[in-house]
């Protein structure tokens, strides 16, 4: 049965959107990422206008992240203090991103900017993660004991001021790196319609050196706030949040996320990171191919009010 989406102004089969929400929610619960980097392009692919896809994905991410974060909370795998510090930067980042979004739209290079940033970001992060998880896997296969922490090298990060204790993560570090990471992710959230988990998770593991078991929950807790703010700002500025679409995405996503969290507890950390790396690289490859290959139609159309 088709349902009509009042803001997107189109009709779509309800199973399509429920299934999309569920599949992306599953990844979200499994990998601790929002999955927006998959959902936004998929929604555009089924014909949802890009601004509606970006804005409505944000509210889907809020639900998937809150469902996942609650499950992680019960496993005591959320560092609330770290999440709060990152959210501080995130809020500033979202405000910056909304401004950037409007500027890019005026220049007519929105699509290119979005695709190119996706390719650069996803390509770099995916490659890094793939290399690391393959090394960890081959180490594990060779019989070496798995290390709970990455090697405690002294990074430049540890020389920064404003140090704080984060008991849940067992860290004593400056608040500047988490705030900067939060800011960068907030900006990307507003411009690209993503939660930013695929950046936050590696940043927490490799830059902040947080223990892997609290990374997922903390990342999800931070994503809740950033995406909730993005939803509200998109609703106010662009009138682009479709509640009917959001309802179906969210319902599918919330269920998918729960299944994902359960699946995650049965998989090993290296396998999870390998999966995430492959998902990230696949999206980057597809977007790069679209940028360099000759388009089917050189022309694109956007209507504006009479």
């Amino acid at each position: 049965m088709d349902i009509y989406l009042p803001i997107a102004e189109m009709s779509v089969h309800w199973l399509v959107v429920l299934g999309l929400g569920g599949a992306v929610g599953f990844l979200s619960g499994l990998l601790g990422v929002g999955g927006g980097f998959l959902l936004t392009p998929l929604l555009i692919f089924v014909g949802i206008p890009a601004p509606v896809a970006v804005a409505t994905t944000a509210s889907h991410l809020t639900a998937a992240a809150s469902s996942g974060a609650l499950a992680q909370w019960r496993n005591r795998a959320v560092d609330l203090k770290m999440a709060a510090v990152m959210t501080l930067g995130g809020v500033l980042g979202v405000l910056m991103g909304v401004w950037l979004f409007a500027a890019l739209r005026r220049s007519g290079q929105m699509d290119f900017a979005v695709s190119a940033s996706y390719v650069l970001l996803l390509g770099a992060i995916g490659t890094l993660m793939l290399r690391e998880s393959l090394r960890a896997l081959s180490l594990a296969r060779a019989g070496a004991p798995e290390r709970a922490h990455p090697p405690a090298r002294h990074l430049w990060i540890h020389g920064l001021p404003f140090k704080e204790r984060f008991p849940v993560s067992g860290l004593y570090i400056s608040v500047i790196p988490p705030i900067v990471i939060g800011f960068a992710v907030g900006t990307l959230s507003a411009v690209l319609g993503i939660g930013g988990g695929f950046i936050v998770v590696p940043a927490m593991i490799y830059l902040l050196r947080m223990p892997t078991n609290v990374v997922m929950g903390t990342s999800l807790a931070q994503i809740i706030v950033v995406t909730a703010l993005t939803t509200v700002l998109q609703a106010v500025n662009n009138h682009a949040v479709d509640l009917v679409l959001a309802f179906f995405l969210v319902t599918g996503g919330a269920i998918g996320a729960q299944l994902g969290v359960h699946a995650a507890s049965r998989l090993r950390g290296e396998h999870l990171r390998l999966l995430l790396a492959l998902a990230v690289l696949a999206v980057a490859g597809k977007l790069l191919a679209d940028l360099v290959s000759a388009p089917d139609d050189l022309y694109s159309v956007a209507a504006s009010g009479a």
Binding site: M1, D2, I3, Y4, P6, I7, E9, M10, S11, S59, T62, A63, A64, A65, S66, S67, G68, L70, A71, G108, Q109, D111, F112, A116, I224, A228, T231, V232, L233, Q234, A235, V236, H239, V241, L243, V244, A246, F247, V250, T251, A254, I255, A257, Q258, H262, L291, V292, S293, A294, P295, D297, L298, Y299, S300, V301, A302, A303, S304, G305, A306
Partner: protein, 248 residues
């Protein structure tokens, strides 16, 4: 419903005293389309009749235009290995939806100048004005191609069917993506390439019920609307995590 309207309409066509010229009457199967939660597009029937027909049947062209808009058409070019938008032309006052049908191929019904004068057919569909430094013609063609792919521009030569010597009708498909607003329905009667009579009427597409209320909410109270979206997301996330905990 549409059959009833057609019947009523036919009854109204009582033979009138002979006047020298033939003329046209027309109607729509419905003049408002309501968008509900299961709306997946609609179809209306435009019908009409020729009064005081001459021995030889005239040609009929039916045109439906959606609300007009300024269309920004961008052309990509290859730069440093990637394809990016380079050139832009704005086509002002193009319809968001356009349908043209006739009882025969349009180019056989009337010469080009007449088709262009009345905007009959996609080839004669011109913007009110254009903005941009490039030749607008390829951009206009690209817009028509784009809208045809989306099912929003249609031209169906031969779709106007005569049910008798004087009575005709045509089905007009309106996809779900056809925008809301007022649609102008025009029926032209031509003979030897000249328009001898025309009738026009309005059709409106609008949301109703929940769809209407949601849209008004989003447009008029965007802040509470956004907060509602967040609350719904949080509540559903919480509910699902609760439901799954019970199942364990």
């Amino acid at each position: 419903m549409s059959r009833l309207a057609l019947a009523a309409f036919l009854l109204a066509l009582a033979p009138s005293p002979a006047v020298c010229s033939e003329n046209l009457v027309s109607g729509l199967s419905q003049d408002t389309i309501q968008i509900t939660s299961s709306y997946a597009g609609a179809e209306i029937v435009v019908f009409g009749a020729i009064e005081r027909p001459q021995p030889r049947r005239p040609d009929i062209v039916v045109v439906v235009r959606g609300p007009s808009a300024d269309m920004r058409v961008r052309r990509k070019a290859r730069m440093a290995g990637v394809w990016i938008n380079r050139n832009r032309v704005v086509l002002r006052g193009m319809p968001t939806y356009y349908f043209a049908a006739a009882n025969a191929p349009l180019e056989r019904i009337a010469p080009r100048t007449v088709l262009e004068q009345y905007g009959l057919g996609l080839a004669a569909l011109m913007p009110r004005s254009t903005m941009g430094r490039h030749d607008p013609e390829p951009f206009r063609k690209a817009l028509i191609r784009h809208q045809r792919r989306a099912g929003l521009y249609l031209q169906e030569d031969g779709a106007v069917r005569f049910l008798s010597g004087t009575l005709f009708r045509v089905r007009v498909p309106l996809p779900a993506s056809a925008p809301r607003g007022r649609y102008l329905v025009e029926v032209y009667m031509l003979r030897e390439g000249r328009v001898i009579d025309a009738r026009s009427s309005w059709l409106s597409i609008d949301r109703t019920g929940l769809e209407r209320r949601l849209y008004d909410f989003a447009e008029l109270d965007p802040l509470p609307y956004g907060l509602c979206a967040v609350l719904m997301a949080l509540a559903l996330g919480w509910l699902s995590s609760l439901a799954f905990r019970r199942m364990e």
